[in-house]
């Protein structure tokens, strides 16, 4: 199936539509909540929580014996939450830094989960296979009711986000200050963390334990490059996430045997790379261009300052001088003189130059901090 064919089928084919909607919603909620994780410098929290969810899935299966997705995800939710609050407890009550706590919980829970998975595989029970789909995810197993469930959770999350927007923002920026204003920071913190856990658990079926954190971080990291406003960042991240979901599903559906989760993550990674390079304010490309531009301006200004020193010795500021007298100064070329003329700083007349009123004024106040800050 061609990619084009996929996009024509997506509106008519029931399965395809379900999966696409599911990955889009997942991308959106992950992008939104991922922004918070990134800004709290808890980028690895998602990774730890998703790995921590694995033993929950295995235990849920061992207890109930069913492979009902919702029950397994409930197990994932419980063990994910336990992992998350253990991390919180470790960082609060010991001298360990959060990266250590995250790494510890991640490997501990994941190791235990893998142990249980291999144990389950050795059981004489025909029903056991398929649990490993949670390792890398299998979007094809998404059912309409899964998608409905995701949509409802995302909706609730959105409402909470809008309601407590002010409090979230305050806590993200300055937690101590939030406390002094009388807000219950513990409540806000638990709310954010719980929603991050929820988003991760929702994504396990589609993207899997191992890659889930990329769904949280990539859209947020990309979005941060484009804006200096928190609300725009969250909206953009949701949009990037949803878009990665749709495009990733499209690519994986049009190429046989490409598993959806990794493709979505790769598409999101392309967004990140693109944003790092091409964002106008923070991107590498424009930063380099600005750097070169500033260097050029600096050279031009040096020449102008030299001319200013000559011109100011005359009564008549626009008295013409020979270009030759610039020769003992190395900052100028014919081209730079022409550039100065085009900016209306000087006038050229044959072998002579003279300063304009505008140029004289500009040169007099060049890099004068006091004036520049007032003009800002």
């Amino acid at each position: 199936m061609e990619l084009k064919e996929y996009f024509s089928l997506v509106f008519t084919d029931y399965t395809l539509r379900t999966i696409t909607l599911g990955t889009a919603i997942l991308g959106a909620i992950c992008g939104m909540l991922g922004s918070f994780a990134v800004l709290r410098k808890q980028s690895l929290l998602g990774d730890a929580i998703s790995h921590a969810a694995l033993p929950g899935i295995a235990i849920a299966f061992l207890i109930t014996g069913t492979k009902e997705t919702n029950i397994l995800l409930l197990g994932a939710l419980i063990s994910g939450l336990i992992g998350a609050f253990w991390i919180r407890g470790i960082t609060r009550n010991t001298h360990l830094k959060s990266d250590t706590a995250l790494g510890l919980i991640l490997s501990l829970f994941f190791g235990f989960g893998m142990l249980l998975l291999t144990f389950i595989q050795k059981q004489p029970n025909a029903n056991q296979s398929g649990l490993d789909k949670f390792l890398f995810g299998q979007a094809a197993t998404l059912l309409a009711r899964d998608v409905w469930f995701m949509a409802i959770v995302t909706g609730i999350c959105l409402i909470i986000l809008i309601l407590f927007w002010k409090e979230f923002k305050l806590l993200l920026f300055d937690a101590d200050y939030t406390k002094t204003l009388g807000f219950n920071t513990k409540f806000i913190d638990i709310l954010i963390t719980s929603f991050i856990v929820l988003a991760i658990v929702l994504g396990l079926q589609t993207v899997g334990v191992v890659l889930m954190s990329a769904m949280l971080l990539a859209p947020a990291a990309a979005a941060r490059q484009w804006t200096n406003s928190l609300s725009v960042m969250v909206i953009l991240a949701a949009f990037f996430g949803a878009f990665a979901g749709v495009v990733g599903t499209g690519i994986s559906a049009s190429q046989d045997n490409l598993s959806t989760g990794p493709v979505i993550v790769l598409v999101a990674a392309v967004f990140v790379i693109f944003s790092f390079i091409f964002s106008p304010s923070r991107g590498l490309l424009f930063r380099q261009i600005r750097f070169i531009q500033n260097r050029k301006d600096l050279q031009l200004h040096k020449t102008l300052a030299f001319m200013y020193d000559i011109a100011k010795t005359h009564e008549d500021k626009s008295h013409p001088h020979a270009i030759k007298i610039l020769n003992n100064f190395h900052g100028f070329t014919r081209k730079s003189l022409q550039k100065l003329e085009s900016k209306n700083y000087i006038e050229l007349d044959g072998q002579m130059w003279s300063m304009t009123q505008n140029g004289y004024h500009f040169a007099a106040n060049l890099y004068n901090q006091q004036i520049n800050t007032n003009n800002d």
Binding site: L39, K41, L163, F164, W165, K166, E167, K169, L170, L172, F173, D174, D176, Y177, K179, T180, L181, G182, F183, R224, T227, N228, S229, L230, V232, M233, N374, D376
Partner: protein, 246 residues
């Protein structure tokens, strides 16, 4: 402090992070309307003292009251300027937005800042001379400007008592003068201002009240009465007079 109201009163405050106390049995009475410096060496517990008063840190023992009532009931009378380095200045927000955060406390849960809050924030920005920078992303402000933004955020709270954690740290002379003028203005209008301060030279010039702290409270009172070599020596553990002369 004879017939003045007590703005802040701290009783038997003890704080410890581990087994060793950071603050030991502090009794402190801060009268209304003073501009007070808290001085002491590194690790003396200066920041910890104000963080404990503000309820950011839970003390092991002791009680705090603001105008005679527990802190929890009096929160709206208190504003806080944290150390500049305590937040991530690359956070995606503008100067005006940060100042608006000062209104969040009086707004309470869920309610959003409206025109009235915006107006108050703009006024505070003007007071600290930062109005022209209101739409700047905060990472593009200089250290002194960031400090002024923090001050403006506290001014918006329109509190009676201001706690400031090293507001002069890493700022240039212009900003330092601008800030101290605002603090003096606050005192003039009857507010109480408590500042963690490091520069001993400027204490007599800036402040009228001082507390010497080094885990224990060494002394507290009017600068003209107690800011002397004896207390400095007791606090810093060196012979202050001799050290300065050398």
């Amino acid at each position: 402090m004879e017939n003045k109201n007590l703005a802040v009163s701290v009783d038997d405050l003890t704080v410890a992070y581990n087994y060793k106390p950071v603050l030991w049995d502090i009794d402190l009475a801060i009268p209304e309307g003073v501009l007070m410096a808290i001085v002491g060496p590194n690790g003396a517990g200066k920041s910890t003292l104000i963080k404990s008063i503000l309820g950011i840190i839970n003390p092991i023992a002791g009680s705090i009251s603001i105008y005679g009532k527990p802190y929890d009931e009096q929160r709206k009378l208190v504003a806080y300027v944290p150390q500049k380095g305590s937040v991530d200045w690359d956070f995606p927000t503008t100067a005006l937005d940060v100042v608006k955060m000062g209104t969040y406390g009086s707004l309470g849960w869920i309610k959003r800042p409206k025109q009235k809050e915006k107006k108050a924030a703009l006024e505070a920005l003007e007071k600290v001379g930062m109005l022209a920078f209101k739409d700047r992303q905060i990472s593009q402000l200089s250290g002194g400007q960031q400090q002024r933004i923090f001050l403006a955020r506290a001014l918006v709270q329109n509190a009676s008592i201001y706690f400031m954690d090293e507001p002069f740290q890493g700022v240039d002379a212009t900003t330092e003068i601008a800030i101290i003028n605002i603090l003096k203005e606050l005192r003039k209008s009857g507010k109480t201002v408590i500042v963690v301060h490091h520069d001993l030279q400027t204490v007599p010039e800036y402040f009228d009240w001082v507390t010497f702290l080094n885990v224990k409270k060494i002394a507290t009172g009017p600068v003209k009465d107690i800011f002397n070599d004896d207390n400095l020596t007791k606090t810093y553990g060196i012979n202050y007079k001799v050290s300065v002369q050398q």
